[in-house]
Subunit: 417 residues, 2 copies
């Protein structure tokens, strides 16, 4: 079955690759209109998924993430209309020129071809990813969380109806409509048809893909993020940024998990940190040097262990460690981080430069919250995923990350000497 | 053992990443000087490798590829000096600007970190790849063909001596000095330390890497390249390009393997093709429609089969197939090609555009030999490998392909709203 889907996707990708931006936008607008007009079908499928999930004892928080309603569907349709307004990277001339060998060469941006996306039980992702792939002329095979397979299936059929209205094949957007996990393993081996695989989920999914996929994979989304409070940091400003980075959305991968504090300011800074964290309901996990200083304060505090330093809390928990200097902070980040987002709070320009140069993360911040790592915040207009690997794309991935290039060479019956 | 090498490489990569271009060039010049001054050590190691290979019955052609002599070593040293003259992509500002959220953002080009390269018994690759990696601030782990392990080992030690002279760690360039194949499997799993893996070898090596590596891999180097002779092609010009594409270096991956000829010119073109191919010593493998036309001519001709169409001849053999039109040619290329290099010979501007838009290969040519697909010919100054996948880099990979970027964001105690 997946072999057939791969074949259909590849065939569709050739048709999509030569569409004009205007043609692609027309398809997107039709999808948005269908989402408005046929919301009842999707909500009915979602109700069945929700009933199953409730019966299986899913938590209220997860049920809420899974649930659609007319307002949320409206928001999804509006997001598709927003994708129309983004500029289309396909066809851009990256570079080129006349070569000494007589060729006129150009490097032209083209779609990747077929993209595979594996994601969790967020029903909005189906439309979101499909619209970004269509905008960039890619076919896509989607495999959402098994808890939302009916919702995703209904959404996929709606998108395919819109495609057919424009004379485009259903193979352009295909949803794997089955909760069977074995299909994921099959998808990972479709390298003959699929050009890029994006897993959007937890560490286990990324590990599975890295180990089993024969398709090039973009891994990411795991964030053990750090803030280093330098000797020259200002106390109040530092507290403001720390609270934002931890609390603005604790479950996000770009929220901070570990605070590294210069030893020269520890005695002064840690007691006020405890006070502020207590007010904000943030629990601290302290190393041997910070524990005595934090223990006196009002914040809840526990002893941190080595495993905690590598853990994404994704909750109102924060590790605290005292470091001897900026280099010890950098070493800690290299050894425990996930190369996602790391920040320095400082008033010293040379320390800022040193940190920026030496910390090898996708996003490095000076005097800013780690929470900014996001396609929208970085001005990309959209976000397909956040990559923490170094090949192809790094950090927030916008439309450009869904493209590659080809070399086009124009000769005059040219031969190599 | 490989775990230790990975650790050393990662540690070295941090030191390399902050070197200036001038510092990196100094190291390269020292390596070139050592290659001149200490050539005896390398030639002695090479003589032992050669003796073993001869005893194991290696062919003269392969022995010649393996052999070093003072002139060849001189050439290798000169190539290193040439790398000094290339411009250094590290530190480039790719894009950036002031964002509405208050951040000043930049996307800065940085080294990948640690690169792993697996290659065949070409002793020049060791120095070649090491110098390109050093120029871009990357550490590298090299695993050459098992037939050249002594030569590569001696070369690696020479490079490490040059590194140490500049206060740099030996971990920056490490050669796996053992013919044991199990070490390759270990290297493929070093994802904790190695950021990119480049296999340079045959299809089996690429398949092994795609299936077993947990490190992002660049696959490529397999070229089933096509030339489509359009209805409007000029006979003599076409023959000139075909001969060049097949014969200028038949063993190269960018040499042509299959000729697709428009049916309307077949009766006119194929007899002269036979004549010219006979003169050039090129043997033809003909489909059912071209066979009768070629059979009359002087060139050797056999019947082609489906497997031949997917085969890299790498010899003076050429498949010939008659197609009904340009779209049938494009379909054949999509189904049988390796997305390496494909050309159209035509005088029709619309057919040229159609071919360029629809053929999804790394390099697409109009009226030029496929033999141009090469980092040097494309003006990149160097070539690390030729990628036929779509992620990260496509076609000839120059220095830029050995880099990634990081997002750097400068705030003013900025928090996300």
């Amino acid at each position: 079955m997946l072999e057939e889907m791969g074949k259909a996707a590849k065939a569709a990708s050739y048709q999509l690759s030569v569409l004009s931006t205007e043609q692609k936008n027309q398809v997107l607008l039709t999808i948005a209109d269908h989402l408005d007009a046929r919301s009842a079908e999707i909500l009915a499928a979602n109700a069945l998924d929700l009933a199953d999930a409730r019966q299986n004892g899913m938590s209220d928080a997860l049920l809420d993430r899974l649930a659609l309603n007319p307002t949320r569907l409206q928001g999804i349709a509006d997001d598709v209309r927003q994708v129309c307004r983004l500029s289309d990277p396909v066809g851009q001339l990256i570079d080129g020129g006349q070569l000494d060998n007589g060729l006129r060469i150009e490097r032209r941006r083209v779609p990747l071809g077929v993209v595979g996306v594996i994601y969790e039980a967020r029903p909005n992702v189906t439309v979101d990813v499909a619209s970004l792939c269509l905008k960039t002329g890619n076919a896509v095979i989607l495999r959402g969380g098994k808890e939302t397979w009916r919702t995703n299936g209904a959404t996929g059929r709606l998108i395919q109806a819109a495609l057919q209205q424009h004379g485009l094949p259903a193979g352009a957007v295909q949803v794997i409509e089955s909760p069977d996990r074995a299909l994921v393993s099959q998808l990972l081996k479709l390298d003959h048809y699929v050009d890029m695989l994006i897993p959007r989920g937890g560490a286990d999914l990324h590990k599975l893909c890295r180990e089993q996929s024969t398709i090039p994979v973009i891994t990411g989304g795991i964030g053990v993020c750090h803030i280093y409070v330098d000797i020259s940091a200002e106390r109040e400003a530092a507290l403001k940024v720390i609270v934002n980075a931890k609390k603005q959305r604790p479950s996000a991968c770009n929220s901070v998990e570990t605070l590294l504090v210069h030893e020269a300011i520890a005695a002064d800074f840690l007691p006020v940190l405890s006070l502020r964290m207590a007010q904000e309901g943030i629990k601290l996990h302290a190393d041997a040097r910070s524990f005595p200083l934090l223990h006196q304060g009002p914040a809840k505090v526990e002893t941190v262990n080595e495993a905690d330093y590598r853990h994404e809390w994704l909750s109102l928990d924060l590790n605290v460690k005292v470091v001897a200097d900026i280099d010890q902070a950098i070493t800690h980040i290299r050894e425990h981080g996930t190369q996602h987002s790391d920040a320095i709070l400082t008033r010293d320009i040379r320390n800022a430069d040193h940190f920026v140069n030496e910390v090898d993360s996708s996003a490095v911040y000076v005097n800013a919250s780690t929470r900014f790592t996001d396609g929208g915040q970085f001005g990309l207009g959209a976000e397909v995923a956040v990559s923490t690997q170094k090949l192809h794309a790094r950090g927030p991935m916008g439309l450009e990350a869904l493209t590659t290039y080809k070399w086009i060479a124009w000769g005059d019956d040219s031969i190599r000497a």
